[in-house]
Subunit: 553 residues, 2 copies
Amino acid sequence: MDVSFIIPISSFAGLLTAVFLYYSVKKQNPGNEKMREISDAIRDGAMAFLKSEYKVLVVFVVVVAALLAIVSQIPGSNMHWGLSVAFVVGAIFSAVSGNIGMRMATMANARTAEGSKKHLSKGLSIAFSSGAVMGMCVVGLGILGILVLYYLFHSLIGADRVVTTNILFGFGFGASSIALFARVGGGIYTKSADIGADLVGKVEEDIPEDDPRNPAVIADQVGDNVGDVAGMGADLFESYVDSIIATMALAAIASGTWVATEGISHDHALMIPLLVASMGIFASIIGSLVVLLGKGRNVYGALRNSLFISTILTAVFSGITIWYILGRFEPFYSMLAGLLAGVVIGLSTEFFTSEKQKPAQSIAKASQTGPATVIIQGLVTGMMSTVIPILSVVAAMLVAYFFSGFYGVALSAVGMLSILGVSLATDCYGPVADNAAGISEMAGLGSEVRERTEQLDAVGNTTAAMGKGFAIGSAAVTSLALIFTYILTANGLLLAAGKSTLELTLQSPKLVSGLFIGAMLPFVFTALTLGAVGKAAYAMVEEVRYQFKKFDL
Amino acid sequence: MDVSFIIPISSFAGLLTAVFLYYSVKKQNPGNEKMREISDAIRDGAMAFLKSEYKVLVVFVVVVAALLAIVSQIPGSNMHWGLSVAFVVGAIFSAVSGNIGMRMATMANARTAEGSKKHLSKGLSIAFSSGAVMGMCVVGLGILGILVLYYLFHSLIGADRVVTTNILFGFGFGASSIALFARVGGGIYTKSADIGADLVGKVEEDIPEDDPRNPAVIADQVGDNVGDVAGMGADLFESYVDSIIATMALAAIASGTWVATEGISHDHALMIPLLVASMGIFASIIGSLVVLLGKGRNVYGALRNSLFISTILTAVFSGITIWYILGRFEPFYSMLAGLLAGVVIGLSTEFFTSEKQKPAQSIAKASQTGPATVIIQGLVTGMMSTVIPILSVVAAMLVAYFFSGFYGVALSAVGMLSILGVSLATDCYGPVADNAAGISEMAGLGSEVRERTEQLDAVGNTTAAMGKGFAIGSAAVTSLALIFTYILTANGLLLAAGKSTLELTLQSPKLVSGLFIGAMLPFVFTALTLGAVGKAAYAMVEEVRYQFKKFDL
């Protein structure tokens, strides 16, 4: 039986869940007038940010799409005009999922604070639901985009498998462009606002966090939404679709891959990454119920359990599906390696960021000898935290390659990202909880509510950090999949044209030059973004000082 | 005419210059009783540190030497027992040059302060002379060690060229072991003492830098010597000899290198790196005279001119020598690429660290909005400063490879390090000037002397930073030379044994794993050393607070 019908069903299931959760959050009580006022201010700020961002983005997307279309018309470019179409679709889908997620988050913050009046689990449920809207949108739209484009170009226009998967890379590239702007622009905004608010508020004026007298507080709350919701969503949308597309491309290549040498049907191999992603969506929906239906007081426990349950179910469902289609397990082991590596990265991030564990406590202890030793200890902890994620990625890559070659490496990225629906939910829950804590402070909801929302916020800080670790880890595995796909595709084209293949050995000074420059780039990008944060924070501090003086706050 | 007799002459010329400068510093007035007392305390502290360091080092060197000797007896190990001998010699030579440099520096500090009473240029001359003792010892002993070991194993014992150069790597490995301990151990000590002294002194007790009431001040002064003199000397000794040995090894390989394919005499190719180093020693001696005989008030100008003159003379001498021996210029272009890259790295470091330039000023400006923005701007500047050195190294590598293959890449490292005699002098001048400034404060030599020594110290901070940039850049090029030598040697042995050569392409997941883990290691090492600094600084702060309380300072 052809089981490919499951793929569109999973996409619609994800999107329907998002719609359902959206309305279930919307019908909640948005709180008193003061709370609505603050929430509206945050939403206005967030939308104003997105509007300026889109102005730049539209120009960028139109120019790149035009360039892609022109280049595809040059004879011998090996590019289909569809790449340009796919690029625009990818950009739109990525922007739409970020936009929906942010509208949801800015609607849910006051409702989370209001819900926390009743019970902690009520607040948790609202904040998590709003995160899940983002998560389900990303996975639902991701699968939908790939399916529609594949159907359009392969079945309707008649491009062959290899050409079609190459067109699909345009979809990933479009998503990637949005992610770069949303993540970097949003990240700079959120950190500048955060630093600006803290510098003047906590350090100079000695007033508490989220004090309504501090004019940078709303900017800080806006930042949480544009950086950690819209930015994170666009970032993971890109990794998600790229991992699937890279696996499909490796499945389509005629020779040199594990799929070809093992004599597996190309159509089956093409379907597997999509089916694994589908299983992940179903598992994520079930996993979300753990949080939504839970009544417990252990916030972090509920979120973690939902991740664990989704992971186990994804593994079981995918194992059955792969066995049903291929009658063998190797691609399953590859996929499982990535899935488990993602879990290990998450747990390692939890260990390094939780206030209950040694690393965060060692930073607190270092404060006894002043700010200098705090910074040293912070850097030590941050740098040390790279070890487990890197080793996890390396282990996943080696295991995945052992079982099914480069196809397996790409599939391990799909495995890692398969539970994105629920992991993005726990991640985007963080900024909503943070906003809710801010609103309950500013609206003066009393110490009990404030305490509950702060409890939600503390867990949110850890889950948001876990989301970042997961985003970086999955980006690393996805990049590997993309690089391997590029090498195989380029070598195939070079051989077909009677040329020699790429020289990619350590004995080539050109390659070593690339490695040197590549190792330098993170520092350059960090310097540029950090410099932008410094400049923007400086401007923010000046403005806040001015307002404090002018309005005599 | 065989010109190889120049090599031992240059070694002795370097060592004789060191002896001459040593006595010329020694005969200077060591100042009043108070100054001598402080200087003696610094020397005692430095020697106590070295003594504890040597206790660990001796065990390490004996164990590794024994392991090398044992492994060399295993049939098929392709290792000569001489490697173990060369290892011990390298360790001893490296330790001796560090030790001499430090004795000199701790003797010169009070004399520099006393000399500054007369005139700024007198102080400069003493401090620079003491640095030059270190520089000349390193280059003189480096060349001497290589020559003696080569003569012993090739001419007396009769090992062939390839085996002899492989034995020489033991010399570099021995030096490397000392460098690791001296650089890391010394670096941790110096930074902990610096932070400890500043934290309690400047921050808590609000007393000026180098105030004699602060018990950590002597420790800080000791740190400058053990870290920036002994550690830096050992570090650069290792890079210096390894660059020469790697070039010699590539010259000795029978096939596959530029030397073999161009049909150049192996003996000539073996001699060239040593001759380039010799030319560098003569040029460094001449360059040093610019500082020693100068009467100007521009401290930094004098140091920079001596570097420029040494660079130009090394280039001219080496060009003539290489043309005389080979009748062609390609290896000269390779060597020149490295030499110029070293100069560019130095100038770039100057730009990023000088108080007269924008980067340092931007950090000062950021202090207007508090410590957080200072740290951000500091990180931005530091990270941005990686660009020019990396691009210089890459350019040098590509140019050097273009002209004479891997042999050229190794020779470019020799070129970069050829002026080490004078560049190490300007570098080790820094800590001596720092100590002199401290002594004139503690001994109460009055504002004029204090100002002069601070002027020397300010320049010293920049030249010490330049030395670090140079050390890192040359280590990168030397590592490249070592890696290429390893690949060619290993492939030669594998082919001779009828096996396939190393698989070092980006398509190998094992290689990619290595790259991932390699990219992680700097963070792990930084975390470990930074963590050690944090711990030691914490202990230092506790001790200083205790002493402040106990002696009611």
